[in-house]
């Protein structure tokens, strides 16, 4: 009798232990500020939001955003081997002149082909193993300005997005004072030979990874982020009835077609989506790809994106917006470039996937949201420049019909007035300091250099790190605003949430402009982020 009762107890206990842990509500992380309480309704949320009206895309904004790409398009991407990229610049302050305009979040990729140029061992922070056995010596190719199109602005995808930004400004203000200069630059970069050279380069790069075109060609240079931006550029050229633009569009079409095929294959072969807020974020890149697929009537790419998006996101449960609060980087949690990387083995090719060779940013709570894994060879590492939850919600506006979308959105995003959503209702706090960019790898702090030169170098490094962090947060703000506009656009105009989404996006974008204004960092990639937000807004 006793034994039977004991058995029953064991049965109950084991059953209880093995129950699915689904019902538990995630609570706030210990290390974050507690979330505010839920508001009663949308009206209460709107009453509590600052009144910010969206900045108009007027001529002064256009001149500002249009001048920046012109300043970087002809500036050679840095030589690999420790001199490129924000991190390396900071690590070697004597090189800061050459690293001007380098900005980590969007371009740490540059440090990647880093092969120690002057001998072993490689420069500090080289995560690729460059210089372990083979030591590289770099020279500039012949005719780079004739055989390549996107060789400026720090890195390939920034060159592409800067070209796009120049085009958007010219398209919107065809008679501005920037007109002639912009056309001259675009002509020089988007010529027939330039774009044919690009296509030849990418074909050869893909073939070096795997000669079979239908193979997955893991780690292909600039795929997905750079490819997605190139498609955005191609789609903008296509819809512009301008005689020069028609020529540029003809020139870029073979490259765009090739990249559309390749990107479609990439999405199809992806085992799981990249849910971090880094450049490799799958939803983010799929959205740009759809912009192109619709304009270019590329049914194959559209089908690839739609079916992968449904496979990845359709059955999602509620997204963890509560973890997307941006915690000031200096307040602990390791800081960017802490030791948490998972670079993986190999690193054989210099032209590897952008997301793969980025350094880790373990400080970013947004990276940890949605159960995002640390960097893996599937991509996913890198600084957070987009909202995982909002990017996904923006993508699905293009995948589902309006009714199905609203049902999906109601399930996947918490109500706008809820406490869980509150991190996305606030403008990102302006950082006042940034973590040291180069944490000592073994946790043993190097002796502080107290000489005047050493102190000056440390001050420069701190200023660069702060400016880089501000640029990252500006990019994140614009990207959030862009997703919010895409979501608002998909809801019926009678929906009371539309006004709330528009207000929220204005708040984010306003902070983006504020963070971007006085900084040198980010100039090669932020104008495109701002312009994309303003383009989507219409």
């Amino acid at each position: 009798m006793k034994a039977r009762r004991a058995l029953a107890a064991i049965y109950l206990l084991t059953g209880w232990l093995a129950r699915p842990a689904i019902a538990q509500q995630p609570t706030a992380r210990r290390d974050t500020v507690p979330l505010r309480a839920d508001y009663r309704d949308l009206a209460e949320l709107l009453r509590n939001l600052p009144v910010v009206s969206p900045r108009p895309f007027d001529e002064s904004v256009a001149l500002w955003l249009g001048a920046l790409p012109l300043s970087c398009l002809d500036r050679l991407q840095p030589r690999p081997g420790g001199r490129g990229g924000g991190r390396a610049t900071v690590a070697a302050p004597t090189d800061s002149g050459r690293g001007r305009g380098a900005n980590a979040p969007d371009s740490t990729t540059n440090a990647a082909p880093a092969r120690g140029a002057s001998g072993a061992p490689g420069p500090a922070g080289n995560n690729t193993g460059a210089g372990y056995f083979w030591v590289a010596n770099y020279t500039l190719m012949n005719d780079h300005d004739r055989l390549r199109a996107f060789w400026g602005c720090n890195d390939w995808h920034s060159a592409v997005s800067s070209t796009w930004a120049a085009i958007r400004v010219l398209q919107s203000y065809p008679n501005s004072t920037l007109r002639d200069l912009t056309r001259e630059k675009l002509n020089a970069h988007l010529g027939r030979a330039n774009l044919d050279g690009e296509l030849a380069f990418f074909r050869a790069t893909a073939e070096a990874i795997n000669p079979i075109p239908s193979a997955s060609q893991t780690g292909l240079f600039e795929r997905p982020y750079g490819f997605a931006w190139l498609l955005e550029l191609a789609s903008t050229l296509r819809t512009w009835p301008d005689s020069q633009a028609k020529r540029w569009s003809t020139n870029i079409t073979p490259l765009a077609t090739w990249m559309a095929d390749s990107l479609g294959a990439y999405f199809t072969k992806l085992v799981e989506p990249i849910r971090t807020g880094a450049q490799g974020n799958t939803a983010l890149n799929m959205t740009l790809a759809l912009d192109y697929a619709d304009v270019a009537h590329d049914a194959k790419l559209r089908a690839a994106v739609v079916s992968a998006a449904k496979k990845f996101y359709l059955s999602d449960s509620t997204c963890s917006t509560q973890t997307e609060r941006v915690v000031p980087a200096a307040a602990g949690r390791g800081g960017r470039g802490g030791g948490g990387g998972g670079g993986g083995g190999g690193g054989r090719s210099a032209n590897t996937d952008t997301s793969r060779r980025q350094t880790t940013a373990p400080n970013d709570l947004t990276a940890a949201s949605r159960g995002a894994p640390p960097p893996t060879p599937f991509g996913g590492g890198g600084a957070v420049i987009a909202s995982p939850c909002l990017s996904e919600a923006a993508l699905m506006t293009r995948v589902l019909d309006p009714r199905a979308y609203r049902a999906w959105l109601d399930r996947v995003l918490p109500p706008l007035q809820s406490g869980r959503f509150s991190p996305l209702t606030e403008a990102i706090a302006i950082p006042t300091s940034a973590p040291a960019p180069q944490a000592p790898p073994n946790g043993v702090a190097a002796a502080a250099d107290t000489t005047p030169t050493g102190r000056a170098a440390a001050a420069t490094a701190a200023a660069t790190a702060l400016s880089t962090e501000r640029a990252r947060l500006a990019g994140l703000s614009f990207s959030r605003a862009q997703s919010m506009e895409r979501i608002a656009r998909a809801l019926p105009t009678t929906d009371p949430r539309v006004a709330a989404w528009r207000r929220l996006s204005a708040i984010q974008a306003d902070r983006g402009f504020e963070l971007m204004r006085d900084d040198q960092a980010g100039l090669s990639w932020l104008p495109a982020q701002a312009l994309l937000y303003m383009t989507v807004r219409k």
Partner: protein
């Protein structure tokens, strides 16, 4: 009397299985099983359906075969990078004196060189009188020299997250093998490798501490795999690493773990129909 615990265990297991099955039904709601999947009523019928395959013994012949592969690759330099240049064209030369300042420059890449060395150590330890034993000793002597390891250590101190965690974990397995062997050569090799193991163990501890989510994909940085490779060394020689391995990452509150678990379950649901049939979880 002896039956009672067994019955209890059986019932316990059954209840586990039932609740697990219930959980599965919950998460599988909405998907339906492909008709071609065979259904087994119990473990015995499933077992009977498997092909009869006996485990391959590690005998002398196998050991001999397996030793030839690492022997042939340890000195074969890792391939020259073959990236197509975008605008900066590179010419490559090997590091000067690599034979005395690098330990693991063969076998395609660093971690493969390390686990090839481990393979040789393991084979020599198990079959000390193989006909290839002298060649193995020579190879290990060449690569485990004090200056070779010192050069490697100096390189890794400036190499960021290169080979972390996969290669680091393999090096710790190698060092576990060396230190738990009383062979006189091995004692010398272990002393040479120790500074590298100490450094890599400390880095592993920081890495595990800062990791916010385990890497669950079946690729090189998989967290469980790295921890398993490092565990022998941690248990026997490194209490700090052992403690860290047993603890959740500090960055993780229990809430985060719950979120992860939910998302893993959701992911399983969404992937099941396609991947189940082909058992390609690790593709």
């Amino acid at each position: 009397m002896t039956r009672l615990p067994r019955v209890a265990a059986t019932i316990g297991l059954l209840s586990l299985a039932t609740s697990a099955a219930l959980a599965q039904t919950t998460i599988q709601a909405g998907t339906h099983r492909p008709p071609s999947d065979p259904v087994f009523n119990d473990l015995a019928s499933f077992y009977a359906s498997l092909p009869a395959v006996a485990p391959h013994p590690l005998d002398r012949t196998t050991a001999l075969q397996m030793s030839t592969m690492p022997l042939s690759c340890m000195d074969h330099p890792q391939p020259r990078p073959n990236a197509v240049p975008y605008i900066w064209e590179a010419t490559y030369t090997p590091v000067a004196d690599y034979e005395t300042t690098r330990a693991f420059y063969g076998c395609y890449d660093w971690h493969s060189a390390v686990n090839s060395a481990w393979t040789l150590v393991r084979i020599l330890k198990t079959f000390p009188d193989l006909p290839t034993a002298p060649a193995i000793r020579q190879k290990l002597n060449d690569h485990f020299g004090a200056s070779n390891i010192a050069g490697d250590l100096q390189f890794f101190k400036g190499a960021g997250t290169f080979e972390l965690p996969y290669g680091y974990a393999w090096l710790l397995r190698l060092q576990y093998e060396l230190r738990s062997w009383s062979d006189s050569d091995a004692v010398r090799w272990a002393a040479n490798v120790q500074p590298m193991a100490t450094y890599m163990s400390a880095r592993m501890i920081t890495y595990l501490k800062e990791l916010q989510q385990p890497v669950r994909t079946g690729v090189h940085p998989n967290t469980a795999m790295a921890m398993d490779n490092a565990l022998g060394y941690a248990r026997s020689f490194d209490p700090a690493l052992k403690r860290r391995s047993a603890r959740p990452p500090t960055g993780c509150s229990s809430a985060t773990s719950d979120v992860t678990r939910q998302q893993s379950l959701a992911r399983v649901t969404s992937r099941r129909p396609a991947s189940w049939k082909r058992r390609s979880w690790d593709s």
